[in-house]
């Protein structure tokens, strides 16, 4: 427990870590308590008030259906965060399992996994996601699946490298010599030690996943109307770009602020844990 609180205070004392933690907390609160915070409903149309400039009543103006943009951005945090976090969690869980098995058992399975990972890792995530969504159809669930598969290679690769490195350490070899089973070694010794870098990498990837979700939204995939998502809002805003540029500017800023905060926070954690080398070696 002391290690954990020590870590938290280390991260928060770092100025970048502290500020980004506060920003992230605000975004998360917006996402969770959207109905309480948003001044208007996200889906009520008032076509007569379409494309209004930002004002005291509509802080960020209104969109093409006269809906309050500020409220939609608050609700949008919900969509963007939940898609990114769920997708990356799935990706981390699956990637860790495959990576650990490949790294630990080696052999043919490892070679197949490595080849597959090498190939997809160098493939642009956006193309992987676009093709997958074409197959499984549009919508929030398929966006999550597509994003989690697009990032799978990264976590598989990282876990595999961690496990390979740990496998040869003396204490693991000693445990194996004492007759411990594979399951015991993988779950009790290898994964817990490999976990930290993978989780941190997952945290950083959440930022990328938010951008990927926005890009898919820009192509009209992802969240289905009227559900607000930052990407979808920018997508419909492009048609209004010359009369109401704020429709794309504000969601873009929301993404930028959130992703920067995630990155800075991630960096602070990496520094506090001093694991930069382990992340890089993969």
């Amino acid at each position: 427990m002391t290690i954990k609180s020590d870590l938290i205070s280390k991260v928060l004392r770092n100025p970048r870590g502290g500020v980004s933690a506060v920003v992230l907390l605000v975004v998360i609160i917006c996402a969770v308590f959207a109905p309480l915070i948003a001044p208007y409903a996200y889906d009520v149309q008032a076509l007569r008030n379409a494309n209004l400039d930002p004002s005291w009543t509509n802080w960020m103006g209104t969109d093409e259906f006269g809906r309050d943009l500020f409220s939609r951005i608050i609700y949008g945090a919900r969509t963007s965060l939940s898609v990114a976090v769920t997708a990356i969690s799935i990706s981390v869980a699956v990637g860790m399992s495959i990576g650990a098995a490949a790294g630990y058992f080696g052999g043919m399975f490892d070679r197949v996994v490595t080849a597959a990972v090498d190939l997809t890792w160098s493939f642009p995530e956006i193309l992987i996601a676009l093709i997958l969504i074409a197959i499984i159809g549009p919508g929030l669930n398929s966006t999550m699946i597509a994003i989690s598969i697009a990032y799978l290679a990264q976590f598989t690769r990282l876990t595999r490298a961690q496990v390979m490195a740990l496998k040869n350490e003396t204490y693991v070899e000693a445990t194996a010599n004492l007759g411990a089973g594979h399951t015991h070694i993988i779950f009790r010794h290898l994964l817990p030690n490999a976990l930290t870098p993978v989780i941190v990498a997952g945290m950083l990837a959440t930022g990328d996943a938010i951008i990927l979700e926005a890009t898919l939204g820009f192509f009209g995939l992802g969240a289905q109307p009227p559900t607000p998502s930052w990407g979808a809002m920018m997508s419909s805003g492009t048609a209004q770009i010359f009369i109401a540029p704020w429709i794309i500017i504000f969601p873009g800023l929301a993404i930028a602020i959130t992703v920067i905060a995630i990155n800075l926070f991630g960096d602070a954690v990496i520094e506090a844990l001093d694991i930069r080398n382990r992340l890089r070696d993969s």
Partner: protein, 308 residues
């Protein structure tokens, strides 16, 4: 060294076969078919069936794959169903645009990234480091299409310096290159910075300092040079991005390119074109990885031993 290259090349053959199979199957998993896009208002269901047979789409998938592979062996990528041209012609029309855009963006992000990373590493933890890395971080934390749209609004519409879209002049390349390049700077800069800081701690650097070699010379001649190895490795693995990763930006700037061709054909289910584009990308990715290995091997004999 030559045996190393040949061995690595040979190992790619089975990978290539599996990849071609996956590519073929994956596009046929997508619901819908290209024939719907080419039947006319007024035509009958029988005419549709005739067309389906004409393009061989009524045969079992595995037979279709065999036919495709056999053609591929003779270097024939097939004929586009909807675009009605040889796939190779279509790729030849689009690939140069992707190559130019991708290469220039890569050059931009490499030069700016290495410079920024070096500056940040030399003044590590100081104000310069924070400022440089902060600005660069921005590039990788905004969606590229958003950055592109804002660039169009500012530099093309307000200031009128560059064309809004297209690929008809060199000036039309500036905004897309900047948009993609800015996104890549952060990666290169981070890798450079960390590598340089790392190398600066090594014994040989300490020795150079002790010998009284000027600090700037140590930084540029010794540390930066060694730091380039991880940068090259990272970049060679990103070759897929050069060819296909620009699809969003190609859309925003209405530019032709391999990514746009792939996505348009995917939307129309023009199977042969999708297969051809994906195959090109896969080959590029495999070659990129190979080149990365070779460069690493050439720069570091230990790698050569480990890999051969």
């Amino acid at each position: 060294m030559l045996t190393f290259v040949i061995k690595r090349l040979a190992s790619l053959v089975p990978v290539f076969l599996v990849v071609s199979m996956i590519i073929f199957m994956i596009i046929h998993l997508v619901p819908g078919d290209p024939i719907d896009s080419i039947v006319q208002i007024g035509s009958t269901p029988e005419q549709k069936a005739e067309l389906t047979a004409k393009y061989g789409l009524d045969k079992p998938l595995i037979v279709q794959y065999g036919i495709w592979l056999a053609k591929l062996a003779t270097g024939d990528l097939g004929e586009a169903i909807i675009l009605r041209q040889p796939v190779s012609t279509l790729i030849a029309q689009n690939l140069p645009h992707s190559l130019i855009l991708g290469t220039l963006a890569l050059v931009f992000s490499t030069i700016v990234g290495i410079a920024a990373g070096a500056v940040a590493a030399i003044w590590k933890d100081g104000f310069v480091d924070r400022a440089v890395m902060g600005i660069i971080l921005l590039g990788s934390t905004v969606p590229s299409f958003w950055l592109g749209l804002l660039m169009i609004l500012l530099f093309a519409v307000q200031l009128g310096w560059f064309p809004v879209s297209g690929a008809r002049s060199w000036s039309a390349l500036v905004l897309p290159v900047l948009t993609i390049g800015f996104g890549g700077v952060a990666l290169v800069a981070r890798v450079t910075r960390v590598a340089m800081i790392d190398i600066a701690r090594r014994d040989f650097v300490m020795m150079l300092h002790a010998k009284g070699v000027p600090a700037w010379r140590i930084q540029l001649q010794h540390i930066l040079r060694h730091a380039l190895l991880p940068v090259v490795t990272i970049l060679s693995l990103r070759i897929g991005w050069i060819l296909g990763g620009a699809v969003t930006i190609e859309y925003v700037f209405a530019r032709p390119g391999l990514g746009s061709l792939l996505i348009t054909s995917l939307n129309q289910r023009d199977y042969p074109v999708v297969q051809g584009c994906l195959l090109m990308l896969a080959i590029a990715v495999m070659l990129g990885t190979l080149i990365g290995d070779i460069v690493q091997a050439a720069m570091d004999p230990r790698v050569r031993e480990r890999m051969s």
